[in-house]
């Protein structure tokens, strides 16, 4: 794993004499990622770890991985981590933060994890204003288990458990957890970002930085939804899947800040 990343065939001196414009994220381990090609999880991991590295808080950070495709997030993120039961990441993070209040604590959760089985834990953690960062990866599908319908799946979206398209009259409408938690007084900073292009990714990174800076001051929960893609679950190429989220998800889950400090209550 180590050697193959070492660019032995390249003239090292030549590299040293140049300005580095792109580097491996220092807090991502060398473990080969198991994510499908083009999956948004990798991008979100990278942005989170870049911010932690830039803030110099690796030693003070404790993360919580969910059950979902990112169950092995702890293989890739070079910080102390715990793997939670399906949906319980916010409760696990509560336990950690309450006994280690001086640490930065984050959860990293999919939409099945956070918006279906873990709805109660999520809402109550935010309502208590747990001083954590919740990073909510919404790809409108259950990736890990093979592309089943999620609470965030869109009207008419074809999944392996809605083979004729999601009938929202029968199975409910796409659940907007982020708007929901924004109404809670415990939520301090709530925003929805995406991974669809470079600009979106830059904004995502900025949001993560903002959230972790707020955590220093014990302000309450910072909640970032990330509209992401699941090419395998959608049965699409990576590019098609990015187009699909732009064309279909953004109208249901509009991007942007939903609650920002000092700007009053939740705006939708």
């Amino acid at each position: 794993m180590e050697e193959i990343f070492d660019p032995v065939c390249i003239d090292k001196e030549a590299i040293d004499s140049m300005d580095v414009v792109y580097d491996k994220t220092p807090l991502l381990t060398d473990a080969p990622m198991h994510y499908c090609p083009g999956c948004g999880h990798g991008i979100a991991h990278k942005m989170l770890m870049e911010v932690i590295a830039e803030m110099g808080i690796q030693e003070q950070t404790i993360g919580v991985a969910p059950v979902g495709c990112s169950v092995f997030a702890y293989h890739y993120m070079d910080v102390d981590m715990q793997e939670a039961a399906h949906g319980r990441a916010c409760a696990v993070a509560t336990g950690i933060k309450r006994v280690r209040p001086d640490k930065f604590v984050f959860t990293y959760q999919g939409d099945g994890d956070l918006a279906a089985i873990g709805t109660a834990e999520t809402i109550h953690a935010v309502n208590r204003g747990e001083n954590i960062l919740v990073l909510f990866i919404n790809n409108a599908i259950y990736g890990m288990t093979g592309g089943q319908m999620a609470p965030t799946s869109l009207q008419n979206q074809v999944t392996s458990t809605s083979p004729y398209g999601r009938d929202t009259k029968f199975t409910g409408a796409p659940l907007k957890m982020t708007e929901l938690v924004a109404h809670l007084p415990g939520a301090y900073y709530v925003t929805r970002q995406a991974v669809n292009n470079v600009n979106s990714v830059r904004r995502l990174k900025k949001a993560i930085r903002t959230a972790l800076e707020y955590q220093k001051d014990n302000n309450g929960t910072c909640f970032i939804e990330v509209i992401s893609n699941c090419p395998s679950g959608y049965r699409m190429t990576p590019l098609q899947s990015m187009r699909w989220i732009e064309e279909n998800m953004f109208s249901v889950f509009p991007l942007g800040d939903i609650k920002v400090p000092g700007k009053g209550g939740a705006v939708s």
Binding site: A65, Y74, V79, D80, M81, R100, E121
Partner: protein, 360 residues
């Protein structure tokens, strides 16, 4: 001499809560349910004045996962519940057992199944001793029979949990939780505490990152973890506890734990007054079960009568322990009903009469 500060008249649930504070508990997460709500009530009143964290969770599911998080971060943590709530915790307990996190869990057993009744029961013995959640795991399970033991077992539970890195449990019942008795509380700060090196406390440059997980996707690794757990449970046998009462010359042995053992002790006294050589064997740890210790006495007995407040759960462990060497009978009440000493005496006498008749 007893320090007056330490001698109190308390409910079992309160004694447990006070002992937890004195044991240096860092955090308690729980959800109200009768007949154990006094634990959370006591702690929410006392902890703000003293030390530690207490948080009322939104459910037992959340509570047990907060326990997972806090224990994983190296804290001394505890939760308590009663039967329906304890059932809700089973998934989390299985994760805790697999991730090998120390913590103390209390079930103040009430009558079931279902929502059942708030009256005392021992219907959760199987759940407590055989695993409860999914997978091959056990907890170290202490079964107190007095308010004093409710307090003492808190210290013992934390000690064992941390020594072996596993969940320890107190299996109590609604009567022990609610009744008031004199208790001599353990001294504050008498249980040593260290932050474990495996906890997620933030990764310093000097070590690899710490990971708390119960996911071992390679079957070879999962088997290795399981073998490690089994070795641990084997080692736990050195921590077996039990009480022997009038067993030296006993021809008739009562086996019972917790409240049922207390009542059975009374029955032994009555039988002894009538000249019948009865004795009591009381497992204090119901997991690991004191099998050899029971067998040692059983070989000399004419029969064993197992007494429980359920349909016959521990009796299976009793039968396994004596392995057919001694007849084992059962006397139980269910659904929140408590057997009286007279009922137990009568059950013993009936069995003795059957035995005598068969010998004629």
């Amino acid at each position: 001499m007893e320090n007056n500060e330490n001698v109190r008249l308390m409910k079992g649930n309160e004694a447990m809560a006070e002992a937890a504070i004195r044991a240096g508990m860092d955090a308690y997460f729980g959800y109200p349910i009768t007949p154990q709500s006094e634990v959370l009530e006591y702690l929410t009143a006392e902890i703000p004045k003293r030390h530690g964290i207490v948080l009322q969770a939104e459910s037992e599911v959340a509570a047990i996962n907060m326990i997972y998080g806090a224990a994983g971060a190296g804290a001394r943590v505890m939760t308590s519940s009663s039967s329906p709530g304890f059932s809700l915790m089973q998934e989390g307990i299985s994760y805790i057992a697999s991730a090998q996190l120390p913590c103390l869990l209390v079930n103040v057993n009430r009558g079931g199944p279902g929502l059942g009744t708030i009256q005392p029961s021992q219907g959760d013995y199987f759940q407590a001793t055989k695993g409860g959640g999914h997978g091959d795991y056990h907890m170290y399970v202490l079964a107190p029979a007095s308010v004093q033991e409710m307090a003492d077992h808190v210290f013992e539970g934390f000690r064992i949990a941390e020594k072996y890195r596993l969940p320890a449990m107190i299996l109590s019942d609604g009567a022990l939780g609610q009744m008031m008795e004199k208790v001599i509380l353990p001294e504050e700060g008498s249980l040593p505490k260290e932050t474990p090196e495996w906890g997620t406390t933030g990764k310093p440059k000097t070590r690899e990152r710490n990971i708390i997980t119960s996911l071992f996707i390679q079957p070879e690794k999962m088997e290795e973890i399981n073998l490690g757990l089994q070795r641990k449970y084997q080692a736990l046998r050195s921590e077996i506890k039990f009480e022997e009462y009038c067993l030296d010359d006993a021809e008739y042995i009562l086996t019972a734990y917790g409240l049922a053992a207390r009542i059975s002790k009374k029955a032994v006294d009555i039988l002894r007054e009538q000249g019948i050589k009865a004795g009591l064997f009381r497992p204090i740890t119901v997991y690991p079960f004191p099998s050899e210790q029971l067998e040692h006495h059983a070989v000399h007995a004419r029969f064993i009568l197992d007494v429980e407040m359920n349909a016959g759960q521990m009796v299976e462990d009793v039968r396994l322990a004596v392995n057919g060497e001694t007849p084992v009978y059962f006397k139980g009440r269910m659904g929140g009903m408590i057997p009286t000493p007279a009922e137990i005496v009568e059950a013993v006498m009936t069995k003795i009469n059957v035995l005598e008749e068969s010998l004629v």
